[in-house]
Amino acid sequence: MNCDESHLLLEAYADGELDLVRHIELETHLKACPACLRRSEGIAARRTRIRETLPRFNAPQALGETIRASLRAEAQKTAGQRPIRFLVASQWWNLAGLAASVTVALLAGYSWGGHSARSNSVAKEAFAEHMRSLQANHLMDVISTDRHTVKPWFAGKLDFSPPVVDLADIGFPLAGGRMDQIDGHTAAALVFRRRLHTINVFVWPARDAVPPPTSASESGFSAQGWTNGGLNFLAVSEIPAADLEQFVGEYKNRTQ
């Protein structure tokens, strides 16, 4: 690790947010580089000062009461109109991760600039979904290496049929699938493995949707998109771009 690389990581190091490998690499560098060590100490001191000094504003007592009252009014209003569906508590805790549908619905409310800006926002969203999918328990709703299990699982849940292929013979075994959201549309996310890494392939109908970017990269993730048979595809992963290209090429071959 050189000094430029270490400068990028010092803040996250002070926050204890580096992964183990980079943490060790950075500490090795700091032992050998007094200038970076001094910078690191400065950043740590600044962080401590901010955390100790910034005030936290607590909600006024009356706010809780006002909110309870308006919730009661709201509940009475809706009780007469429609039954509210919700999952029982025991089911919630099995389903980890954020309520993607809500966040995407909120995202969709934003106004985007142009076409390419929206394509970019699709990529950004896919990166975020990919990252979220790497969190424990959110990766897969159906776990199977058999495409004949994964494909029918989607049948009752989507109004389109994502083509599911198996690429185990070239080193990308299928691992499962889940429901996701891209650009306000319900999407199928197919999960593939590359050794210890994960590839998410998002599939959603092309009608009224912007096409996915043909390629994009951000913070070590890369993405490649295409459209085929009325469906948008976007493959996202942290594997090298060349490996992802091989994966996408073969995926296209076998679905055409």
């Binding site: 400068h7 990028l8 010092l10 803040e11 996250a12 926050d15 947010e17 001094r38 910078r39 100490e41 400065g42 950043i43 001191a45 600044r46 962080r47 000062r49 901010i50 000094t53 910034l54 005030p55 936290r56 504003f57 607590n58 909600a59 006024p60 006002t66 909110i67 309870r68 308006s70 919730l71 709201e74 509940a75 009475q76 809706t78 009780a79 039954p83 509210i84 569906r85 919700f86 999952l87 508590a89 389903l95 980890a96 991760g97 954020l98 309520a99 549908s101 809500v102 966040t103 619905a105 909120l106 995202l107 409310g109 950004k124 975020a128 990252m131 979220r132 969190q135 913070s219 070590g220």
Partner: protein, 178 residues
């Protein structure tokens, strides 16, 4: 499963109202005004309650804060409030320009009030990551979820935000000292 509205309401209150202080704190920092902050939290609570059937996550606080943040941003977009003094420029790849070691003395002398003023002058994008991380104690990953930005962006915004905060403190303490 169907549930009666009163049961849903008490479940909602049990899961979300413990995070009222976090919600108010974020809102207060983003809108920089107690009245607007209360309005936004109240609006966010109603929105959260209406979409509660869509909540399936284990992390109620992150879900609630996402809604609070979105309400605050729409207030900021529609409001004609004072503009931040420091321009927001996203830089995903460049290195944070500060060293963290300059003017170490000004940090020791920085009173809480000066730090608060300095933070209020930063653009909302920096303010929120600093508040969520340094005041509310959320992890980078949780912030990525709440602010709907990639993990790498959380890291770079926090680094740049703290650097800009330091610059603001220097500027403010120079302008107030005789």
């Amino acid at each position: 499963m169907e549930a009666s509205a009163p049961t849903e309401m008490s479940t909602f209150e049990q899961l979300m109202l413990p995070h009222l202080d976090s919600a108010y704190n974020l809102s207060r920092w983003l809108l920089r005004n107690p009245h607007d902050a209360e309005d936004a939290v109240q609006e966010a609570c109603l929105r959260a309650f209406r979409s509660f059937s869509g909540f399936r996550g284990a992390d109620g606080r992150a879900w609630f804060l996402t809604i609070v943040r979105n309400v605050c941003y729409s207030h900021l977009r529609h409001g004609k409030r004072e503009f931040p003094k420091v321009a927001f420029e996203e830089d995903l790849h460049g290195s944070p320009q500060d060293s963290g070691e300059t003017n170490a003395q000004c940090w020791l002398e920085a009173k809480g009030d000066l730090l608060r003023q300095a933070l209020e002058r930063l653009p909302a994008e920096y303010r929120e990551v600093i508040v969520l991380h340094d005041v509310e104690g959320l992890s980078y990953r949780e912030i990525a979820g709440v602010a709907e930005i990639p993990l790498g962006t959380v890291m770079s915004r926090l680094a740049r935000g703290r650097g800009k905060l330091q610059t603001e403190i220097v500027t403010l303490s120079e302008s107030t000292s005789p």
